[in-house]
C-alpha cells in the first residue's frame, strides 16, 4: 500500500511502483485527446513549493495538475526572500495553515521534503531534494523504458556521470533495481560516492566495461561550472572519456536506448547527434513525465475522504 507521501523510491515496494506505472498508462491517453482535461482533482489545491528553480519539472507538475482539474499554485520562495536564517519549517507551517491538498517540494538540500512532511497535514511529493532523490524522474524513466522495451526485468541499465551529486542516479538505482533490472554506475572515481555499492549497484571507472551489454544508457547532466577543475580536469577530458557518442554507444547492446534527465549539455555528456536522434528517447521522457506525474498526483493527492487535522497554535506554557 502506497504511503501518504512520495519522498523517495527507497520507501516504495515493487508493487507500488508497478501500480504507479500502470496508472500512468491510463493518463497517457488523456494527453492525446483534443480536450486534455478530466475532472478527477476538481476542487483540490496543489502547491508547487519550489525553493530551487526548475522550469521543466515545475511545468510538468503544473500541466499534470491542470489536466486533472486541480487548482495548481506555484510558490517559489526566492533565495533572496527566504533568507538562510528562515526556518524551512516556518514556511511549511505557514503553508499548512492554507490547507493545501498536496504539496510538491523541490529543494537544493537533501531531506527538506521529509522534514516538511513531518509537520504538514497534506501529502508531500518530492520533486527533487539535493543529492537525495527525485522519485518522479525515476518513475518516468522506468515508464519510458517499459514502453520502449516492453519490460524492465532482466535489463541492464548503465548510469553515466556525476553519481556523487545526483538525486536522479539514486532514485533510478532504487527504481530500476526494484523492478528487476541490473544497474551499473560509471564515472571518474572523484564522482562515485563512498558506499554506493550498498545501494546494490556495481561501480565502474571504465565506460567500456559499464556499457558492455547494456540495454539502457542513462547520461547524467554534468554541472560544468561547479565541477570542472575540482572533480575532473576539463570539459574536453570529461567528454572524451565519459561523454556518450555513437562510437562509445557501440559498447552497449545494438538496440540500446539513450536517456537523459535533461537539460542536456550538448557535446559534454551527450554528443549533439545523440541528443537529437534515436536511439535517444529524451523527448519521450519529457512527454511521459506529464502522464507519470498525473498518475502520482491522482494516487497521492486524490484520495477520497482524507480526514484533515485542523491545526492552530497551542496555548503558551504557563509562565511565558
Amino acid at each position: 500500500m502506497i504511503g501518504r507521501d512520495l519522498l523517495g523510491i527507497e520507501d516504495l515496494e515493487r508493487d507500488d511502483i508497478v501500480r504507479i506505472l500502470d496508472t500512468a498508462e491510463h493518463m497517457v491517453e488523456i494527453g492525446e485527446r483534443a480536450v486534455k482535461k478530466v475532472p478527477t482533482l476538481r476542487g483540490r489545491t496543489i502547491v508547487n513549493l519550489f525553493f530551487e528553480s526548475s522550469t521543466r519539472t515545475r511545468a510538468s507538475f503544473e500541466i499534470a495538475g491542470k489536466r486533472l482539474s486541480a487548482d495548481v499554485v506555484n510558490f517559489s520562495p526566492s533565495s533572496s526572500s527566504l533568507k538562510k536564517a528562515e526556518s524551512i519549517l516556518d514556511t511549511a507551517r505557514t503553508l499548512d495553515a492554507m490547507d493545501p491538498d498536496a504539496v510538491v517540494v523541490r529543494h537544493a538540500v537533501a531531506g527538506v521534503p521529509k522534514r516538511i512532511a513531518d509537520v504538514l497535514a497534506a501529502p508531500v511529493i518530492n520533486a527533487g531534494d539535493g543529492a537525495h532523490e527525485h522519485p518522479t524522474q525515476a518513475l518516468l524513466d522506468c515508464f519510458t523504458v517499459r514502453r520502449e522495451k516492453g519490460r524492465l526485468d532482466g535489463l541492464t541499465v548503465a548510469i553515466v556521470g556525476d553519481i556523487l551529486h545526483s538525486r536522479v542516479a539514486r532514485s533510478d538505482i532504487y527504481a530500476f533495481s526494484k523492478l528487476g533490472a541490473e544497474v551499473r554506475v560509471a564515472a571518474p572515481p572523484t564522482m562515485i560516492p563512498h558506499g554506493i555499492e550498498t545501494l546494490g549497484v556495481k561501480a565502474y571507472t571504465s565506460l567500456r566495461e559499464a556499457l558492455d551489454g547494456a540495454d539502457v544508457v542513462m547520461a547524467l547532466r554534468i554541472q560544468t561550472e561547479r565541477l570542472t577543475g575540482a572533480y575532473f580536469p576539463s570539459v574536453r577530458e570529461y567528454s572524451a572519456t565519459f561523454g556518450i557518442d555513437r562510437a562509445k554507444l557501440r559498447f552497449a547492446k545494438d538496440d540500446a536506448i539513450v536517456m537523459h534527465p535533461g537539460p542536456v549539455n550538448r557535446g559534454v555528456e551527450l554528443s549533439h547527434d545523440l541528443a537529437d536522434h534515436r536511439p535517444s528517447v529524451i523527448l519521450d521522457q519529457v512527454r511521459n513525465g506529464v502522464a507519470l506525474r498525473m498518475a502520482v498526483l491522482y494516487l497521492f493527492a486524490g484520495r477520497p475522504g482524507a480526514v484533515r487535522r485542523v491545526r492552530t497554535l497551542p496555548d503558551a506554557p504557563l509562565g511565558m
Binding site: 536564517a85 526556518s87 524551512i88 516556518d90 538540500v109 537533501a110 531531506g111 560516492p193 563512498h194 558506499g195
Partner: protein, 432 residues
C-alpha cells in the same frame, strides 16, 4: 565558629585517585572531605542517604560551550552551570567561541565573574589560541593564564596554518597549559555535514570524510612531538585517529585526548530522517569508528569523556541539514549514556569515574577528581540503575538540541555537591 557538616551515608565510594571502591560513609566539613570510613559520627551533620548509589568525585567537563557573552538565547553561564550540575558536573571548561571571542584577559575575567555570580558549577575558561579565532596571531597566553584560562583552543575554527600551530604549541610551553585541537582539515571537510560513507550516500548529504580528522591529528601529533608541548585532542571520532594517538603516546609524545558521549554510543545512522540534532562536528561516524573510540577509552588512549555541550536554539536546528549549526547539548545525558560502556564491561565503574573526573581534572591541572581527605568536596551521587526518560524541555539548559530527547536512559545523577554545598537533587532540581 560553626562548622558545616554533611554526611553521605552508605554509598559505594568510587575514588580513582586512591583506587578505593568500597561501601563507606563520606564526611564533608567546611567544603572539604573530612573523613571516609565506616559508621562515621552523625552529630550535627546534614544526612544524605546514598544507599544503592555511587559516591564519586564530581565530574569535570573539559569541553563545552556556554554561549555567554553574545548568544544568551542559546545558553548563558548560569543556565549552562545549572545544566552541568544536573548532569553531575561540578566543573566545566568553556570554549572561547563567544561573541566577543575570549581572546583577551578582560574577557576571561568577565566569564569568571559571571560564573561566580550565576553558576553553581565551577567554570574554567579556555582562551582562544589565536586572536579572533582567525588562526593568524597568537593570543597573550601568559596574561590569559594569569587571568584564569586553563587551556588554549580555537576549537571549531581549526588552525589550518601549520606554521601558526607550531608557534602556538611552542609558545604554550612557556605557560604550561595544554593546547586543545579540534582536528579537522577544513579543505578535506569541504561542505561535508555527515560522515562520508554509505549513510551520507543514501541520504544524499555531502560527506565529511574520516580522513579529514586523521590527517589533522597526524599533523598536530607531529608538531607536539617536535615542540614537546602538551597537545590535547578534542572529541576524537575515528578509528585511525585513536590509533595515531596510541602510537604517539607509546613514543612519549605529550598528548592527551578526549571523546564525546555521542561518538561512543551513536553512529551516522542517527541522522536517518534528517534529524539535525544528530548533526555535530566532527560528525557521528561508522560502527567501526565508534567501536575503536570505545576501545581507545577502555585502554586509556583516550583519557577523558567530554561532552562538547553545544546549545543551539530550536529555530536554528529547524534549518535544512546543511545550514543547521552543528552540535548537541550533553551535560544532562553524559553520565547516563556512557554508563552503557560500564554495563557492556568495557569500563569498570572506577575507570568510568576516572575518565569523567580524575583525568580531565589532571589534564587541566585543576583540583578535583579525588575523594582523599582534605580534597575539595565536589561530589556526585549516581544511581546506576535508575531508569528515566530524558525530556530536554524539563532540563536546565536553555536549548533542547539533543539526539536523546524522549529516550529512555538507565542510570542517573541524583545529587551533586560543589565545595560541600548540595547544588542539585534529582527530586528538587537545581537548588541555587
Amino acid at each position: 565558629m560553626t562548622v558545616s557538616r554533611i554526611l553521605i551515608r552508605g554509598g559505594r565510594i568510587l575514588d580513582p585517585q586512591s583506587g578505593r571502591d568500597e561501601r563507606a560513609d563520606l564526611l564533608i566539613e567546611d567544603g572539604r572531605v573530612a573523613a571516609l570510613g565506616q559508621g562515621l559520627p552523625v552529630e550535627g551533620a546534614q544526612l544524605l542517604d546514598a544507599a544503592g548509589r555511587w559516591v564519586v568525585p564530581g565530574f569535570v567537563d573539559m569541553h563545552s560551550h556556554l554561549r555567554e557573552p553574545g548568544q544568551e538565547y542559546k545558553e548563558d553561564i548560569g543556565s549552562g552551570g545549572r545544566a552541568a550540575v544536573a548532569g553531575g558536573f561540578t566543573a566545566v571548561a568553556c570554549m572561547a567561541n563567544t561573541h566577543p571571542v575570549n581572546d583577551d584577559p578582560a574577557m576571561t575575567d568577565y566569564i569568571l565573574d559571571r560564573a561566580r555570580h550565576d553558576s553553581p558549577a565551577r567554570v574554567y575558561p579556555v582562551a582562544a589560541a589565536t586572536k579572533g579565532l582567525k588562526g593568524e596571531v597568537m593570543t597573550e597566553m601568559a596574561a590569559l593564564v594569569q587571568a584564569g584560562a586553563v587551556a588554549f583552543s580555537d576549537d571549531g575554527k581549526t588552525i589550518m596554518d601549520s606554521g601558526v600551530m607550531r608557534r602556538v604549541l611552542e609558545y604554550s610551553t612557556l605557560v604550561g597549559v595544554p593546547v586543545i585541537t579540534h582536528a579537522e582539515d577544513r579543505t578535506l571537510v569541504g561542505d561535508g555535514v555527515l560522515n562520508e560513507g554509505p549513510v551520507a550516500t543514501r541520504l544524499g548529504l555531502p560527506g565529511n570524510p574520516a580522513i579529514a580528522e586523521v590527517v589533522h591529528v597526524a599533523r598536530d601529533l607531529a608538531l607536539a612531538e617536535f615542540t614537546s608541548a602538551h597537545l590535547h585532542v578534542a572529541h576524537v571520532s575515528t578509528a585511525q585517529a585513536v590509533e595515531l594517538i596510541r602510537r604517539a603516546r607509546e613514543r612519549g609524545v605529550n598528548a592527551t585526548a578526549e571523546v564525546a558521549p555521542h561518538h561512543l554510543v551513536l553512529t551516522d545512522e542517527a541522522a536517518q530522517g534528517y534529524d539535525t540534532n544528530a548533526k555535530v562536528a566532527p560528525p557521528l561516524r561508522s560502527v567501526a569508528d565508534r567501536d575503536a573510540c570505545r576501545a581507545g577509552l577502555a585502554d586509556g588512549t583516550l583519557d577523558a569523556i567530554a561532552t562538547d555541550h553545544a546549545p543551539h536554539a530550536q529555530h536554528e536546528k529547524e534549518l535544512d541539514f546543511t545550514e543547521a549549526p552543528p552540535g548537541m547539548i550533553g551535560f544532562e545525558t553524559a553520565a547516563a549514556v556512557t554508563l552503557e560502556l560500564v554495563r557492556a564491561g568495557l569500563l569498570s565503574p572506577l575507570e568510568w569515574v576516572r575518565r569523567l573526573s580524575t583525568n580531565p581534572a589532571r589534564i587541566l591541572a585543576r583540583p578535583g577528581g579525588s575523594l582523599a581527605q582534605g580534597a575539595l568536596a565536589d561530589v556526585t551521587l549516581v544511581d546506576p540503575e535508575r531508569v528515566w526518560r530524558y525530556d530536554p524541555a524539563k532540563g536546565f539548559s536553555k536549548s533542547r538540541n539533543s539526539p536523546w530527547a524522549g529516550a529512555e536512559l538507565t542510570g542517573r545523577v541524583v545529587a551533586t555537591l560543589v565545595g560541600g554545598r548540595l547544588v542539585f537533587d534529582v527530586e528538587r532540581g537545581v537548588l541555587v
